[in-house]
């Protein structure tokens, strides 16, 4: 078992869910495949999906919903 970290490709605000009333994209313990959406980053009023770039199990969110993030910041930790 290894681990992999998904990082942000852009600065902005991170969201766990597609809209405030929606369910989160993924929760801790969920398994994800490469290409699955695991979150959203808002930058300058545009929204960019954060895709898993590996297959594995979500072990930990490294940022909270609505946290400000910088480019390259660690967002989600996967067990691979």
């Amino acid at each position: 078992m290894g681990s992999h970290t998904i990082t942000s490709r852009t600065p902005g605000v991170f969201y766990h869910r597609p809209s405030p009333d929606a369910e989160p994209y993924v929760t801790e313990g969920a398994s994800v495949s490469e290409g699955d959406t695991v979150g959203l980053v808002e930058v300058m009023k545009t929204f960019h999906e954060v895709k898993a770039d590996a297959t594995g199990t979500v072990s930990k969110f490294l940022v909270e919903n609505e946290d400000e993030v910088t480019i390259g910041q660690d967002l989600v930790e996967l067990e691979t």
Partner: protein, 466 residues
Amino acid sequence: MTAARSGAELPHRGSLDSVLVANRGEIALRVVRACRELGIRSVAVYSDADAQAAHVRMADDAVHVGKSSASKSYLNEDAILEAARSAGVDAVHPGYGFLSERPSFAAAIEEAGLTFVGPPSSVIATMGDKASARALARRAGVPVVPGSDEVASVEDAVAAAEEVGYPVLVKASAGGGGRGIRPAASADELRTVVAEAQREAASAFGSDKVYLERALQGPKHVEVQVLADTHGGVVHCYERECSLQRRRQKILEEAPAPGLDPSVRESLCAAAVDLAREVGYVGAGTVEFLVEGGEFFFIEMNTRIQVEHPITEWVTGLDLVAEQLRVAGGAPLSVTQDEVVCRGASIEFRVNAEDPGQDFMPSPGEVTGLELPGGPGVRVDTALMAGDVVPPFYDSLVAKLAVWAPTREQALARGRRALAEYRVQGLPTTIGLHRRLLDHPAVVDGTYDITTLEAWLRRADVGHSE
């Protein structure tokens, strides 16, 4: 709140002593500058990300309103209202965007006994609702895009289409966001399309109700600037041509609208004044129309100062933000309609922190070098200085370059010259895109419409950004 004073004591600025500028970036700076010239104390608000921003540095005072994300600062009604109370201002200027068109915010300002620099909250509510704005336009005798009520059968649709005029769009009543729309160019085609549309609407939206609307082929977006005071004065300040849009975002605007028939211009401007009167408008507002052939149709009213207001200021010589502040202080407009004259031609180029080569991906970051254009007929509205950081949390507009010249041809030449002087280092912007756009034949001859920019972007290699 200070007691209202008579206009005779303070003829130039109404009764406002101090204004909270509830915005950021270039428009906050614009309002701060108008306040300074009128002798009004300006109080800026700022988020964590904007603690060092130009609008904060240049205002008389500043109040911190929250964390960087817009929802926790500039969009936080309670925080802005609390800032107004703690700063002891008379009035709140909302700028554009953020809270400027939220009826609840304007109402909260009114309830706090402060002056909202804009129309009454009830007017914002009326014009902010598509159906009520359309109904109001009809009452004012202002044309709207022709449409039918819901049609119950295919034959009803054919009868209604005779009134609406072909080509028509068949729209699902329960649809929205562009879904459930089908075109039909003739009665024969309509018979087929309505039946299909009803079936599709029933399965997609749970209702088979459809209605018709005239399909405009390539209209121009032309808008009229209006000003109204609390004494019954309403004037128009002529029009702006804003058809060059990408994803409904304007990128270049000009005044006057090239090629607009003088009689259409006259009717358009009169319609905007009629609409403003009908709704009881106060302050600066913009009435937007689609123009096709010799016809024009109301689409919406923006109940605030507009991003592209500088081009109207160039051609009329008016200071629209100063007019807003005077009107908010209870003073009459500084001009009558006869005194508003449109002279020369003006073009605005929106400089966005976006990379046209990467599908306009936002490009926040640090501005490492900056050279602004200058010289005759050049105006730059920006809050971005060398060494500043463009934060990722807000709109991508970082500057507006507006040029003026006696003729449109000279204004185009001046635009090319100013864009060539403009240098932003550290992040990609839309400056290079504007340079290339000024070579587009339809831009040069002024015949472009709302489809031109997106069609050009699909064709053109806009790869090298600047």
